[in-house]
């Protein structure tokens, strides 16, 4: 299960390398949102 979680997070963080080429703050905001979402997931999950 943890391997799947790790793969999903690493895949999500790698998306800008293949998809995003906009000359605006899209990549910046995308990385921020993915990291914040994972942090919230960690905070809410049972350990």
């Amino acid at each position: 299960m943890r391997w799947i979680e790790a793969l999903i997070v690493i895949f999500a963080m790698s998306v800008p390398f293949s998809v995003m080429k906009d000359q605006n703050l899209t990549t910046y905001l995308y990385w921020t949102v993915v990291s914040a979402s994972y942090l919230i997931f960690i905070a809410l999950r049972r350990w």
Binding site: P16, F17, Q23, Y28, T32, S35, L39, I42
Partner: protein, 453 residues
């Protein structure tokens, strides 16, 4: 003026140390606060230990030169840390409490034997003493207009050793916490001030390729070589590894990880956004074009009001000291407990002084290899990773496998750094491959021949 501000910082830090000092009876009290630290203070000391002067100087400059890839690199580190801590920290905290572990070496000793911790200590010192020296060099250069370089190093050493010597982890944690909040506040002020210099509704598209990855700086191999050593930082850097043992209970441990995550996310966003803002100011001809990335923040400090410049400079100083004193205290615990098997608090205090002196001597000499080893520190430390995973996931692998792994990983890092014969593959990848390969191979041989005999 900056010197007076730093003296005020020293006074405040000393007052915090005196107010938070408790009786230190054992080395457990001295190195990990007797495992009685609350979640919020644990989180802030974890953050202040992790985020050194690199953030406000190095990362601002890296973002200015290379763009949003710098944010990606730093956030990869953050999600990696959250991932590793949410899985391993509860297990480590529990066995730490049960078996009275204080250092990473204690964890390795219980599985691989005491000699592993003895071998590990000098390797870690070789990686971390030059890295910490660089913090002293940075501080001394920051103060170079006010005092001589040598005096700056002595000043840094005094700041680093004093609070750790007096109160151990408890004092270090409380000063880290207060100055961690100060570091974050100054980053917020810096971003607001940089915003005020930009025209209303600034056009970020002027930054061109700096807004996406890959670009001319952030090629795939460069991104991997920056990211990989940092991804495992939470497990391979002893000063943060040891902090897993300090929370008073499991709820505090979880609070430590989550609050650290929010601190790290906010600090990273602020620092990288400042780098982008300064680059945009350059595109608007409102800030000089700078090619040396380490000079971006010093130049910014020159153009802002002096009160703000001094406050931000003190926050950079605080970031360097909070990292340095945590490393010194952790190294002291490893030398006394792991290398010399000594449990006295006095020995710990003596090592705090000796290690700080060693760092200061390195810093004053400023030989080129200090910078090389400092850059390599996280890569060198990767050689511990198979040993850490082995503790939790694999039954095979004993003392010989562990020692062979440490030696092979360390030598791979050093040899490839100097020969540059990497076949285009990042050194961190080679170190990981070599370390894991040696661990499994020797573990197999150990099982086959030694146990049979």
């Amino acid at each position: 003026m900056l010197l007076y501000a730093l003296l005020l910082y020293l006074a405040i830090g000393t007052i915090i140390t005196v107010l938070t000092m408790r009786k230190i009876l054992t080395d457990e009290d001295y190195y990990i606060g007797g495992r009685k630290v609350g979640g919020v203070i644990s989180a802030l000391t974890y953050a202040a230990t992790t985020y050194s002067a690199f953030m406000m100087v190095g990362l601002v400059g890296l973002t200015y030169i290379s763009g949003v890839g710098a944010l990606g690199f730093e956030l990869f580190y953050l999600v990696g840390t959250l991932m590793l801590l949410s899985y391993y920290a509860p297990k480590l905290w529990k066995i730490g409490k049960e078996k009275n572990f204080i250092t990473p070496g204690d964890v390795f000793s219980s599985r691989y034997g005491k000699n592993v911790a003895k071998i590990l200590t000098p390797f870690i010192a070789l990686a971390l003493i030059p890295y910490t020296s660089l913090q002293f060099v940075g501080i001394s250069l920051l103060l170079s207009k006010e005092i001589s370089f040598e005096f700056g190093v002595a000043f840094s050493a005094l700041f680093t050793a004093f609070w750790a010597f007096l109160g151990g982890l408890r004092s270090v944690a409380w000063t880290d916490a207060i100055f961690g909040i100060f570091m974050l506040s100054m980053a917020i002020l810096a971003v607001f001030y940089a915003s005020s210099l930009l025209p209303p509704s600034p056009d970020f598209s002027k930054l061109g390729e700096l807004l996406y990855v890959p670009n001319s700086f952030w090629r795939y191999d460069v991104f991997i070589s920056y990211t990989l050593p940092w991804f495992f930082f939470a497990l391979t850097n002893p000063q943060v590894f040891q902090r897993i043992f300090i929370p008073k209970d499991e709820a505090s441990l979880k609070r430590m990880v989550v609050i650290f995550g929010f601190f790290g996310l906010l600090y990273t966003i602020l620092v990288t956004f400042l780098g982008l803002q300064l680059r945009l100011l350059t595109e608007y001809d409102l800030f000089p074009k700078i090619s040396d990335r380490d000079l971006v923040t010093p130049k910014f400090l020159e153009i802002i009001p002096s009160w703000l410049s001094i406050a931000i400079a003190v926050s950079i100083f605080a970031a360097a000291i909070t990292t340095a004193n945590s490393i010194v205290l952790t190294l002291s615990s490893m030398f006394t407990r792991d290398l010399f098997n000594n449990r006295s608090v006095m020995a710990g205090r003596i090592f705090v002084v000796l290690i700080t002196l060693a760092i200061a001597i390195f810093a004053i000499q400023r030989p080129a290899y200090i910078v090389d080893l400092a850059i390599m520190s996280s890569t060198i430390l990767l050689c511990q990773l198979p040993l850490i995973f082995g503790v939790f996931h694999w039954k095979s692998g004993g003392q010989i496998a562990a020692i062979s792994t440490l030696v092979a990983g360390f030598l791979t890092a050093i040899l490839l750094y100097y020969t540059k014969k990497t076949l285009g593959i990042p050194i961190a990848v080679w170190v990981l491959l070599m370390s894991f390969a040696v661990f499994f191979l020797v573990a197999f041989l150990e099982k086959r021949f030694i146990k049979e005999s």
